[in-house]
C-alpha cells in the first residue's frame, strides 16, 4: 500500500529540512522516495497547512520494570482518578502518574510519540521490564541496563581488573539483557546504602569496596566508548536532589575524561546553596559546562506542577527523600546484589519555594543550553511529571509570553532566585523537532528513526499548526506508525505492537567462565536462566521484532 502525505510543512532536522512544504510517501512501513509517475497512490492525505515531523522519541521514560509496578501497587488512588475505558479498539487501563502499560502506550501514541526507552533496567529485572514494554502498545521500545552498584562490577574494580575485562562484562550485560545502552545510577551509591552508607560523593570511597563514583564513571564511559555502543554512558549522578549538587555535576563531567557522557534529568542535579533558604539555581553553571564540553549531552527531567510519583533505582536518594513525599508512603528495595529502587509520591506545587525553583531551573537549562542536538526533552516520567505534560512544556519553551505568565504565578521568593524572566529565547519548531526526534535518534544510534528521509521507518506525526502550542502538541491530527495510521485527533484508531531496539557489541565469552562460578557461589539464579533468549523477547512483545543496531566498532 502506497500512502501519500501531501503538502505538509516538514520539519526534519536530521536532513536539514526546516518547514519546507513537501510530499511524503509511505510504503511497506518505510518512507520512500517519490515514486515514478505511473505508480498508483492508494491513499492520499491532504496535509496543507499542517506541521509534519517524525514520530517522537522519548529517550528517558520509566515505562517498564519492577519499580514502576511497585509504584502502581502502592497508588490505587492515582488510578482511580484516571480510569481509561475500553473501546472497540483499545483495552481498559488506568492511571495518571503510574499508568498501566496499556494506557501509557495509547497515550504516547495519541500524543505523537512512536518510540520510548526505559532508562533504568536492573539486569536481574530485565525480563519484567521487557514484559512491561512488551505490553505497551504501538510504540517501539528499548532499555538501558544499569551497572555500577552491582557487586560483580564493584569487585572487578576493587581488584584492579583491567579495562578489557570490564568491557567484556559490559558487553555481556547488554547481550544478556537485550538492551541498547548502559546506565549508571548514583554510581556505587545504591550498593553503599546496603552497607548503611548514607551518602556517596563523587570522590568518596565506597565503605566496603573502596572505589569511588568517579572510578565507576571512568571505567564505564570507557567501556561504552571502546565497545562502540552509540549512546554514551547514561548517568544519573551522585547527590540527586541535594542542594549544592551542581558541583557534583560539574565534577561528574570531568570523571568522563573527555569521553562521551550523557547526564540525565540534569535539572535534579543543578542546585546551588545560595540565598536565605540555602537552595538556588545552578542551571547557568551546568549549561555553561554543557556548552563548553562537546562530549556532554543531557536531558532535562523538567518538573511540572501537580501530583506524581518518583520511581528510581536510587534507593539511597529515595530513602532520604521519603519524608518529603505526599502522600506519606514510600517503598525502598535492595535488589539481588544488582541494584535497588525507591518509590516516593510527590505533589509539586507552584506555591512551594523549592518546587517552584526546580521548575524554573529546568526551563533555565533548556533555554541556556545552546546546542539543541545535545539537550533532550524529558520530564523523567513520572519523576518530574507524567509524560502527558510534554505539550505544556513545549509551549513553555516556544512561547515566552506564556512562560512569563506562568512565572508570575509561582512562589515570589523562587521567582526572585531565577533568571528565567530575563531569558527571551523561544524554541522554534525546528529545534523542538531536534529535542524530541532527531536528537534522541542520533544519540541512540537509531539510523532509521527520528527523520523523514527515504529509508526511514514510517513513523510520522502530523500536527495542526496552532498558535497554542500546547493544544497543538497534545492532539496530533494524524500519527503513523510503521506506515499505518494508529491515531487521529488524539484517539487511537488502530493498535499495533512496536519493535524492541538493542545493541550487541562483541565480547570474549571467557567472561562467562567468571560469571558462572560467581552466580553459583553468591546469587540465587543460574547464569543460564539469567540471560534472556531472543525468542523470549518475541513472546514478551506479542511477536515483536528485535532490531539490533550496529556498534561503531
Amino acid at each position: 500500500m502506497l500512502l501519500k502525505l501531501k503538502g505538509g510543512k516538514v520539519y526534519d532536522p536530521a536532513n536539514g529540512v526546516n518547514g519546507e512544504v513537501r510530499d511524503l510517501y509511505l510504503r511497506d512501513g518505510r518512507i520512500v522516495a517519490e515514486p515514478g509517475g505511473d505508480v498508483r497512490v492508494d491513499r492520499e492525505y491532504d496535509l496543507t497547512g499542517r506541521v509534519v515531523m517524525a514520530g517522537g522519541i522519548d529517550l528517558h521514560t520509566h515505562i517498564g520494570g519492577g519499580k514502576m509496578n511497585l509504584a502502581r501497587a502502592m497508588l490505587p488512588e492515582d488510578h482511580r482518578a484516571d480510569p481509561v475505558r475500553r473501546t472497540g479498539v483499545t483495552r481498559a487501563s488506568c492511571g495518571h502518574a503510574a499508568p498501566g502499560t496499556l494506557a501509557a502506550g495509547y497515550r504516547y501514541a495519541a500524543m505523537g510519540y512512536t518510540s520510548c526507552f526505559e532508562p533504568a533496567i536492573l539486569p536481574v529485572n530485565a525480563r519484567q521490564a521487557h514484559l512491561e514494554m512488551g505490553d505497551t502498545p504501538i510504540v517501539d521500545k528499548g532499555g538501558y541496563a544499569m551497572l555500577g552498584s552491582d557487586d560483580f562490577l564493584l569487585r572487578l574494580l576493587a581488584a584492579g581488573e583491567d579495562q578489557a575485562l570490564i568491557n567484556d562484562y559490559v558487553a555481556w550485560t547488554l547481550h544478556a539483557t537485550r538492551c541498547i545502552a548502559i546506565k549508571v545510577v548514583n554510581p556505587g551509591g545504591i550498593s553503599a546504602f546496603k552497607f548503611n552508607q548514607r551518602k556517596l560523593d563523587l570522590d568518596e570511597p565506597h565503605t566496603f569496596y573502596g572505589v569511588t563514583p568517579r572510578d565507576i564513571i571512568r571505567v564505564l564511559t570507557r567501556a561504552v566508548h571502546e565497545l562502540g555502543v552509540p549512546h554514551p554512558l547514561h548517568v544519573h549522578g551522585s547527590n540527586l536532589g541535594v542542594p549544592g549538587n551542581v558541583d557534583t555535576t560539574l565534577a561528574t563531567i570531568s570523571a568522563a575524561e573527555g569521553l562521551p557522557i550523557h547526564l540525565t534529568h540534569v535539572q535534579f542535579h543543578a542546585y546551588g546553596t545560595e540565598g536565605d533558604r540555602a537552595f538556588s539555581s545552578g542551571a547557568a553553571r551546568v549549561a555553561e559546562a554543557v556548552n563548553r564540553h562537546a562530549n556532554v549531552s543531557c536531558d532535562v527531567g523538567q518538573l511540572m506542577f501537580g501530583p506524581t510519583v518518583t520511581a528510581s533505582g536510587d534507593s539511597m536518594a529515595q530513602y532520604r527523600n521519603a519524608p518529603h513525599g505526599r502522600p506519606r508512603k514510600a517503598i525502598v528495595m535492595d535488589i539481588e546484589c544488582d541494584a535497588g529502587c525507591g518509590v516516593v509520591p510527590f505533589r509539586y506545587r507552584d506555591r512551594n519555594f523549592v518546587n517552584a525553583l526546580q521548575w524554573a531551573i529546568g526551563l533555565e537549562l533548556f533555554l541556556l543550553i545552546a546546542d539543541p542536538w545535545r539537550v533532550f526533552l524529558t520530564t523523567d516520567h513520572p519523576n518530574g511529571a507524567p509524560f502527558t505534560s510534554y505539550p505544556q512544556l513545549i509551549r513553555l519553551l516556544m512561547d515566552r509570553g506564556f512562560r512569563n505568565e506562568r512565572l508570575a504565578q509561582i512562589h515570589p521568593d523562587a521567582r526572585a532566585m531565577t533568571t528565567l524572566g530575563t531569558i527571551d529565547r523561544e524554541y522554534s519548531l525546528y529545534e523542538i523537532a531536534i529535542l524530541t526526534r532527531a536528537g534522541p535518534a542520533r544519540t541512540l544510534g537509531l539510523a532509521d528513526h527520528g527523520h523523514l528521509g527515504p529509508g526511514a521507518a514510517a513513523d510520522v506525526t502530523v500536527y495542526q499548526d496552532q498558535a497554542d502550542r500546547e493544544s497543538m502538541f497534545a492532539t496530533p491530527e494524524y500519527v503513523f506508525k510503521n506506515g499505518e495510521l494508529v491515531a487521529r485527533g488524539g484517539e487511537v484508531v488502530k493498535v499495533t505492537w512496536g519493535r524492541y531496539h538493542k545493541v550487541a557489541p562483541a565480547f570474549d565469552r571467557g567472561i562467562e567462565r567468571r560469571l558462572g562460578p560467581y552466580f553459583e557461589r553468591f546469587l540465587t539464579m543460574r547464569l543460564g536462566n539469567f540471560v534472556i533468549a531472543e525468542d523470549e523477547m518475541q513472546a514478551f512483545g506479542h511477536g515483536a521484532e528485535l532490531v539490533t543496531h550496529p556498534c561503531r566498532r
Binding site: 517498564g64 488506568c94 498501566g100 505490553d135
Partner: protein, 431 residues
C-alpha cells in the same frame, strides 16, 4: 519424626540427557537449579528437589486429558465453544483461582475485560494482607540474594517458612561464604509458640522468642517503642516478658543487615494487614540507624505473577472488576469468596494449572475450569479444559516471591495439553 525440608534427592542413575537448571514453579522461591530426568512422560527430580517439588514433578502423568462438558468427553473446540456460550450470556462472571504463568495471566486479563468480569486470585486472602499494608504506607524490603549475602540477623514473624518454602534456609542462609565474608553466621530468631520442625542445623542455632503469634501486631508495636527508646509500663506483650522484647530490639538495632521475614498466608487473624503494617513500620524505624529489610514470602500458585501482570497492564491487582468498562479495584466488595457467597457470580472461570488439589470452590454458578490435568471435582464443572502445567508441559515465565525476578519455565516433556493461554485463545476465537 521431623520432616527434613532440605533433602536433595540422591541422583537416581543420572542420565547424560538430564535437564539442568530447571525452574520449579511450585512455590514462590522458584528455585531454578533443579536437575530433572525425563523418561517419556515421567519425570524424576535428580537433584535440588524438596518436599514440595518432588511430588509435584514426579506425579504420575494424568490419565484423563480430554476436555469435558458436564462430565462428557469433548474436543477442545467444543469445550471452548461451550465456555464461550456461557460467558457470552454472563453478566457477572468471576475469573478466580488465577493459578497460571505470565502468558496465562495476560490471556485471562484480556478475557475478563472483554466479558466485563471480576478477577481475584485464590490466594488473595493472604496477599491482600500485604497489599493493603503496602498501599497504606509502602515498605522497605529486600530480595533473596541480598539475604544470602548480607543478613546477619533473620527474625521470622510467626511463619513456618520451611513448610511453605522448603529450601529457603538452604538457599539463603546455610551458605557461610558470601560476597563480603568467608564465615557468615546469621542469627535466626523465631517469633511464635514453638520452633518449627526442620529449621536449619546451624551455628548459632535458631532460637525461639516464645509469644502468641495471634498478637504479632502487639509485638511489633512494643518493638517499635523499644527501638525508639521509649519507656514501657507494661511487663509483658504478646505473651512474652518485656525483657525478651528489649533484648530482641537491641539485637535488631545492632544488626548490620537485618531481615524480618513473614509469610502472609500464615497470618490468619482478623485485620492481619494491621500486623503486617506494624511489622513494616518497625522495619522502617530500624532504618534510621542501621539497615533492615522486610522479606514478605509468598508466590505459590502464581499469585505474584497474576498480580504483577494485571498491575502493569491496568494499575490494579486482584479484586478488580470490569463491570463498568474500566478497571475498578475494591478489596472488600470484589473478593471472589464474598461474591460467590452472596450469589453475585453467574459464571465462575476457575484457573489453576499448578496444583490439582486447588480446585474450584463450591458454587451455584456454572464453572468453567481451566485446571491442571488430573484435577478431581466434587461438583462436576460445566466445562473442564485440562491444562498443562507451566514449567512441565509447556514453557513460560513465572515471578518469584520477591516480585522483581521473573524466571523462565521450560517444557520438560512431550505434552498435548493446552496451556491456559491456549485455552483462553480458543475461547476468545468463538466468543
Amino acid at each position: 519424626m521431623g520432616v527434613c525440608y532440605t533433602c536433595p534427592t540422591m541422583p537416581k542413575s543420572p542420565a547424560p540427557d538430564d535437564i539442568r537448571d530447571v525452574t520449579c514453579p511450585f512455590c514462590g522461591l522458584a528455585c531454578d537449579d533443579l536437575v530433572i530426568g525425563v523418561s517419556g512422560e515421567r519425570l524424576a527430580v535428580r537433584a535440588n528437589g524438596c518436599a514440595i517439588s518432588i511430588p509435584a514433578f514426579e506425579a504420575s502423568p494424568p490419565a484423563k486429558t480430554t476436555p469435558q462438558i458436564a462430565g462428557r468427553d469433548a474436543t477442545l473446540a467444543q469445550a471452548a465453544a461451550e465456555a464461550a456460550r456461557l460467558l457470552r450470556d454472563a453478566r457477572e462472571p468471576l475469573f478466580a483461582g488465577l493459578g497460571t504463568d505470565v502468558a496465562g495471566a495476560r490471556a485471562i486479563a484480556r478475557l475478563a475485560e472483554r466479558c466485563g468480569g471480576n478477577l481475584d486470585h485464590m490466594n488473595s486472602p493472604a496477599t491482600m494482607r500485604n497489599m493493603l499494608a503496602l498501599q497504606d504506607r509502602g515498605w522497605i524490603t529486600t530480595t533473596l540474594a541480598e539475604v544470602r549475602n548480607r543478613a546477619d540477623l533473620l527474625v521470622v514473624a510467626g511463619s513456618d517458612i520451611g513448610r511453605r518454602f522448603p529450601r529457603f534456609y538452604e538457599r539463603c542462609l546455610a551458605n557461610r561464604e558470601t560476597l563480603f565474608a568467608e564465615d557468615r553466621r546469621c542469627e535466626i530468631v523465631f517469633l511464635g509458640s514453638a520452633l518449627p520442625e526442620g529449621m536449619p542445623r546451624q551455628e548459632p542455632p535458631p532460637r525461639l522468642l516464645p509469644c502468641d503469634p495471634s498478637r504479632l501486631h502487639e509485638a511489633a508495636g512494643v518493638l517499635r517503642a523499644l527501638v525508639a527508646g521509649r519507656t514501657l509500663q507494661a511487663s509483658e506483650a504478646a505473651g512474652a516478658p518485656i525483657g525478651a522484647w528489649r533484648e530482641l530490639a537491641d539485637r535488631m538495632l545492632a544488626a548490620r543487615y537485618g531481615v524480618l521475614a513473614w509469610a502472609a498466608a500464615d497470618f490468619d487473624l482478623p485485620h492481619a494487614e494491621l500486623a503486617v503494617l506494624a511489622l513494616c513500620e518497625l522495619v522502617r524505624d530500624l532504618n534510621r540507624t542501621t539497615r533492615f529489610s522486610g522479606l514478605p514470602l509468598g508466590g505459590s500458585d502464581g499469585d505474584v505473577t497474576a498480580d504483577a501482570v494485571h498491575l502493569w497492564q491496568t494499575g490494579f491487582a486482584s479484586r478488580t472488576g470490569y463491570g463498568r468498562g474500566y478497571p475498578e479495584y475494591d478489596p472488600y466488595h470484589l473478593s471472589g469468596t464474598r461474591l460467590l457467597a452472596r450469589g453475585e457470580v453467574d459464571v465462575l472461570v476457575w484457573v489453576s494449572a499448578f496444583d490439582p488439589a486447588r480446585g474450584p470452590p463450591a458454587s451455584a454458578a456454572p464453572a468453567v475450569v481451566l485446571g491442571r490435568a488430573g484435577m478431581i471435582f466434587e461438583q462436576e464443572p460445566a466445562v473442564f479444559i485440562p491444562e498443562g502445567t507451566p514449567g512441565v508441559d509447556h514453557a513460560g515465565h513465572l515471578f518469584r516471591t520477591d516480585r522483581v525476578i521473573a524466571l523462565p519455565l521450560r517444557r520438560l516433556r512431550p505434552s498435548a495439553l493446552p496451556s491456559v493461554a491456549d485455552a483462553v485463545a480458543a475461547i476468545e476465537q468463538v466468543l
